[in-house]
C-alpha cells in the first residue's frame, strides 16, 4: 500500500519534472514591478501570447520590488513608475536603461455621499495628506467647491502600504507644491505617512476607498474608472482645474524630454496638463548578459520591448492610459537599439 503511494508520488513527480524541463525551452519571460500599469501590461502580454506564443509572467509586486528583483537578477525585466535616481543607479552591478511604456495619471479618489465632483487646490491636497484638514466640511474645501454641499464627515486618508511608484509620483508632486511636505515627509516609494491607513497595491487602496465613507486616497486613473469611483479635478501650476484624462496626461507630457527618458511630469508647466502624472518604465540591463539572460531570451526580450512600445500602444487608450507621443516613441526606439548582448547589438524586428 505504502509502496504504491510512493510509486505514485514518484511517478507524478518525475512526470511533472520531465514535462517541465521539456517545456523549459519554450518561450517565457518573467517580469515584476509596478502595479500602476498592471492592467495594461496584463492586456498587452495576453495579446502578445496570442500573437507570438511567448508567455510573459508579470507580477505586480510594486515598483520597489521590481527594481530590487532586477538588481538581484531574479527577473528578466523590472517595471517601475519611479525612475531610478543617480544614487540608485550606482547600486546596480551594471548599467540599466529605462524604456517608457505609457504615461498615466494618479487621481485623488474619494467616497462621499452623492459622488460630487470635487475641485482640489494644491493647498487642500497637501493639507489633507499632512493631516491638517481633517473634515470634509472644512472652509477651505468649501471655498473651492461653492456649488457642493459637503458632508459632515471625517476625512480618512488611505495610502499605499507597500513601496510603490504611484506613491513616488504622488509624493513627488506634494514635495513640489508644499515646502512643509518636502521638509517633513519628502518623496519616495515608501513614506513615513503623517496620517491615514495603508492598503496593499493600487487595487487595495481602491478597494479600501470603496468600503469606507469619507475616505480619500490616490490611485491610478484606470482603477478609479474601472470601479466607478469619483475623483477630483486638480488645480495645476497655471491655475486651471484639470480633470485627469488621457488628453490632460498627454498634455502634461508635452515638455522637453531627456534622451534617457528619466523625467518627472508632476506639477507640469503645460497649461492644460494634469499635474499628478508620470511615465512608467520597463527596466532592463543595458547589456542583457549582465542580467543573467541567455542570448535567445535576450532576443525575445528585445522583440517584446519593441512590440510593447509600438504594436502594444494601441491597447493603451481603451484602458485610459496615455499612449507614448511620437517624440517619446522615437526616444524609446533609440534606447531599445542601444541594448546589447555581451557587447553585440541584437536584432530589431519592427514588423514582428
Amino acid at each position: 500500500m505504502k509502496k504504491l503511494i510512493y510509486a505514485l508520488f514518484f511517478g507524478l513527480f518525475s512526470l511533472s519534472f520531465v514535462t517541465g524541463t521539456s517545456m523549459a525551452g519554450s518561450k517565457e519571460l518573467t517580469g515584476a514591478g509596478a502595479t500602476f500599469p498592471y492592467p495594461l501590461y496584463s492586456r498587452i502580454f495576453s495579446e502578445y501570447y496570442r500573437a507570438h506564443g511567448v508567455k510573459v509572467n508579470y507580477q505586480a509586486i510594486g515598483s520597489g520590488g521590481g527594481i530590487r528583483q532586477l538588481m538581484a537578477k531574479i527577473v528578466d525585466f523590472g517595471a517601475s513608475d519611479a525612475y531610478v535616481d543617480d544614487n540608485g543607479l550606482k547600486k546596480f552591478s551594471a548599467p540599466i536603461v529605462h524604456i517608457p511604456m505609457t504615461a498615466g495619471a494618479v487621481v485623488l479618489s474619494y467616497n462621499l455621499p452623492g459622488n460630487p465632483k470635487l475641485k482640489l487646490t494644491p493647498s487642500i491636497i497637501s493639507g489633507i495628506f499632512l493631516g491638517k484638514i481633517t473634515r470634509w466640511d472644512d472652509p477651505e474645501i468649501a471655498k473651492a467647491n461653492p456649488d457642493i454641499k459637503l458632508p459632515k464627515l471625517n476625512i480618512l486618508v488611505i495610502h499605499r502600504s507597500d513601496g510603490s511608484g504611484t506613491t513616488f509620483i504622488f509624493s513627488d508632486y506634494l514635495s513640489k507644491i508644499s515646502n512643509e511636505w518636502q521638509k517633513k515627509v519628502g518623496r519616495g516609494k515608501a513614506l513615513k505617512w503623517p496620517v491615514g491607513l495603508g492598503a496593499k497595491g493600487n487595487a487595495g487602496v481602491a478597494g479600501m476607498i470603496k468600503q469606507i465613507p469619507g475616505a480619500i486616497g490616490y490611485v491610478e486613473l484606470i482603477y478609479a474608472l474601472n470601479n466607478h469611483m469619483s475623483y477630483a479635478a486638480v488645480q495645476n501650476r497655471s491655475g486651471n482645474f484639470i480633470e485627469p484624462s488621457i488628453n490632460s496626461v498627454s498634455a502634461a507630457a508635452d515638455i522637453e524630454l531627456p534622451d534617457d527618458m528619466r523625467v518627472s511630469l508632476t506639477d507640469t508647466s503645460a497649461e492644460q496638463g494634469y499635474p499628478i502624472a508620470g511615465f512608467t518604465w520597463v527596466l532592463v540591463y543595458k547589456d542583457l548578459k549582465n542580467g543573467g539572460l541567455s542570448k535567445d531570451k535576450a532576443q525575445e526580450l528585445i522583440n517584446l520591448l519593441w512590440w510593447m512600445t509600438h504594436q502594444g500602444q494601441r491597447y493603451a487608450s481603451p484602458l485610459h492610459y496615455a499612449p507614448l507621443s511620437k517624440v517619446a516613441q522615437r526616444k524609446a526606439e533609440a534606447i531599445i537599439r542601444s541594448i546589447v548582448y555581451n557587447g553585440r547589438p541584437l536584432d530589431i524586428n519592427p514588423g514582428y
Binding site: 510594486g62 530590487r68 502600504s161 515627509v185 513615513k192 495603508g198
Partner: protein, 288 residues
C-alpha cells in the same frame, strides 16, 4: 547486522542534518540581519520610527502591534477555549453534541488563514465599521480590534485542544472522590481539576499566544497596515509578521530588507522561546 548498522547510521545522519538545518536557519537570518544590526544596534528594538525614505528603521511599532493584538486575542479566546476544554474534558460523556463540538473545533483549526482574512474583510470589517460609526470613533473598520477578533477565533481550537488533553490527564479517581464527597461539578472543577492542571493550561495558553504572534495572512488583511505606534484599540497598526508580508518584496535598499529580516529573526526567537517553554511544561505534566 550490516543493514541494521546502516539504518541506524542513516537515522543519525538525518537527525544531524535536521539539527544543522535549524542552526543554519538561525544563522542565515542572523547573517542577513547584520547590516541592520550594525546600523541600529539595540536602538532597533525601541526605535519608534519606521521610515524607508531616510532609511531609518525601528521595531517598536510592530512589537507593540504584535503584543497588543495577541494579548487581546487571548483575552477574548480564553473564556471560550476553557469552556470547551472543561465541557469536552470533564463533563461530557460522549454523545451527539460533544461530538459536533469536537468536530467543529477541529474544522475551525483546519480553515486556512487566508480564508479567515478574506471572510473577515467582507463580514467582520463592515460590522466593526458600523459599530465604530455609532461609537463616534474614526470608522476604519480594519485595525487592531478586528485583527484581534479574527486571531481569537483562530487560536480557540489550539488552546481548547491542549487544555482538554491536560484536563483528561487528571486522575478520574480524584474527580470521583470529589463528587462522592458531595462537591458540585463547579467545585470539583475549581478546587480539583484546575489546580491539578494549572501549569498545563498555562502551557496551552502560551502555545495559543505563540500562534497568534506569528499569524500573518489574516492579520495582514485586516489590520490596516499603518507603520506608526497605534494610538487606540481601533487604530490601524502593523504586526511584525504583517509588515514583513507587506514590504519584503518591495524593499529597495539593503538596509530596509535587512531590517525586515531582523524582524523575522526576532519573531523566530520570540516564538521559539514561547513554544519551548509551553512544550516543556506539558512534558513535565505528562511525566507526573
Amino acid at each position: 547486522m550490516k543493514g541494521d548498522r546502516l539504518f541506524r547510521i542513516v537515522l543519525w545522519i538525518v537527525a544531524g542534518l535536521f539539527s544543522a538545518m535549524m542552526v543554519f536557519m538561525l544563522a542565515s537570518l542572523l547573517k542577513e540581519s547584520l547590516p541592520s544590526i550594525k546600523a541600529f544596534g539595540m536602538h532597533f528594538l525601541y526605535g519608534k520610527e519606521w521610515n524607508p525614505v531616510v532609511d531609518k528603521f525601528g521595531l517598536l511599532p510592530f512589537l507593540v502591534g504584535t503584543l497588543i493584538t495577541s494579548v487581546l486575542a487571548l483575552i477574548i479566546s480564553v473564556p471560550f477555549a476553557m469552556s470547551i476544554a472543561l465541557f469536552l474534558g470533564m463533563f461530557s460523556k460522549g454523545g451527539f453534541w460533544p461530538k459536533i463540538l469536537g468536530y467543529g473545533t477541529d474544522l475551525l483549526a483546519g480553515i486556512p488563514s487566508v480564508i479567515y482574512g478574506f471572510w473577515a474583510l467582507f463580514f467582520l470589517v463592515p460590522i466593526v465599521r458600523n459599530f465604530e460609526m455609532k461609537a463616534g470613533i474614526v470608522p476604519y473598520g480594519v485595525g487592531i480590534f478586528t485583527a484581534s477578533v479574527v486571531l481569537a477565533i483562530m487560536i480557540i481550537p489550539y488552546i481548547s485542544s491542549i487544555s482538554k488533553e491536560v484536563i483528561k490527564l487528571v486522575p478520574r479517581d480524584l474527580i470521583e472522590a470529589g463528587l462522592a464527597l458531595g462537591a458540585t461539578d463547579l467545585e470539583v472543577a475549581k478546587d480539583v481539576v484546575l489546580p491539578y492542571c494549572r501549569s498545563g493550561i498555562v502551557a496551552g495558553i502560551l502555545l495559543g499566544f505563540g500562534r497568534a504572534l506569528g499569524e500573518t495572512m489574516a492579520v495582514t488583511m485586516v489590520i490596516g497596515n499603518s507603520n506608526s505606534l497605534p494610538k487606540s484599540l481601533f487604530a490601524p497598526a502593523n504586526t511584525m509578521a504583517s509588515v514583513i508580508a507587506n514590504e519584503f518584496t518591495e524593499a529597495t535598499t539593503t538596509l530596509h530588507l535587512s531590517s525586515l529580516i531582523q524582524i523575522g529573526l526576532w519573531l523566530f526567537i520570540l516564538n521559539a522561546i514561547v513554544n519551548v517553554i509551553g512544550m516543556l511544561i506539558i512534558k513535565k505534566m505528562e511525566v507526573k
